[in-house]
């Protein structure tokens, strides 16, 4: 187990794992899982993403000459165009947003019942998708 559950009562532990399982088996999450697996097997897509991330880091870090910066920005625009045209990347993004919308709906249900926004309590500082 990659996480600790020491603070959870037995009832809460069972309920948490039940909720986790049902979320994982929901259509929205299954769709995201499938799209993500397809993306992870698409080497061209992964290379595109890596190159964009690296170039963005370089551009935001600064320190390049104005000529290099201009070349980098041009390349960044090209890459973003390629990303927009990449089916695996776009399908994963759509699936991820569908999954996020579903999770927000579930969070709203939970939050209304307990009187506090559950997700805002559950999020860890610096966490991302």
């Amino acid at each position: 187990m990659k996480y600790k559950t020491d603070s959870l009562t037995p009832e809460l532990r069972v309920a948490s794992f039940d909720l986790a399982e049902s979320l994982a088996l929901s259509e929205a999450i299954l769709g995201y899982t499938k799209a993500h697996q397809i993306l992870m097997k698409d080497q061209q897509a992964l290379q595109l993403i890596d190159e964009v991330n690296e170039l963005q880091r370089k551009v935001y870090a600064g320190g390049s000459s104005s000529e290099d910066l201009e070349d980098d920005i041009t390349r960044l625009r090209e890459l973003q165009g390629l990303i927009s045209a990449n089916t695996a990347i776009q399908q994963q993004a759509i699936a991820r947003e569908t999954a996020a919308a579903f999770l927000r709906e579930m969070n709203q249900e939970i939050s209304q019942l307990i009187g506090v926004d559950f997700a805002s309590l559950a999020i860890r500082p610096g966490a991302g998708c």
Partner: protein, 134 residues
């Protein structure tokens, strides 16, 4: 999940997920940490000393907001602010509320880890308005 097969029979319908979400909510609300937080929050809201100190602190913070952004707060004002903060955070009811809140957050983060691990997304981040980053 290598060679994962999308089997329609395994899909959890929305009503089923909602039902597990409701049972989870009940279990969370019954947890010692949640009950302690509710009690501490009620005490926080009903304590006149706390509310008075809180209002004084908020008022001072608001009045200094612009100066703080410009890093132009005088030493006297800083000392006054520090004094108000000390008064507020020194009240036992406030300390109890903060402790209970931290315990509840820790509990919910543990649950969040369980959910995130199962779904392959960070639950808390995904639920933010605007969705995931990137």
């Amino acid at each position: 999940m290598d060679n994962f097969m999308y089997n329609e029979l395994e899909v959890a319908s929305k009503p089923v997920v909602m039902q597990t979400a409701r049972r989870f909510s009940e279990a969370l609300a019954e947890s010692p940490q949640f009950k302690a937080f509710e009690d501490a929050y009620q005490a926080f809201r009903q304590d006149d000393e706390v509310q008075s100190a809180y209002q004084a602190l908020r008022s001072k913070q608001e009045s200094l907001r612009m100066m703080m952004m410009l890093n132009a707060v005088s030493d006297d004002e800083r000392q006054e602010l520090a004094k108000l903060e000390k008064q507020f955070y020194g009240i036992e009811t406030v300390q109890r509320y903060i402790t209970a809140q931290e315990a509840l957050i820790s509990l919910c983060q543990e649950v969040g880890d369980i959910l995130s691990d199962a779904i392959g997304l960070d639950f808390g981040s995904a639920c933010r308005v605007g969705g995931c980053c990137g």
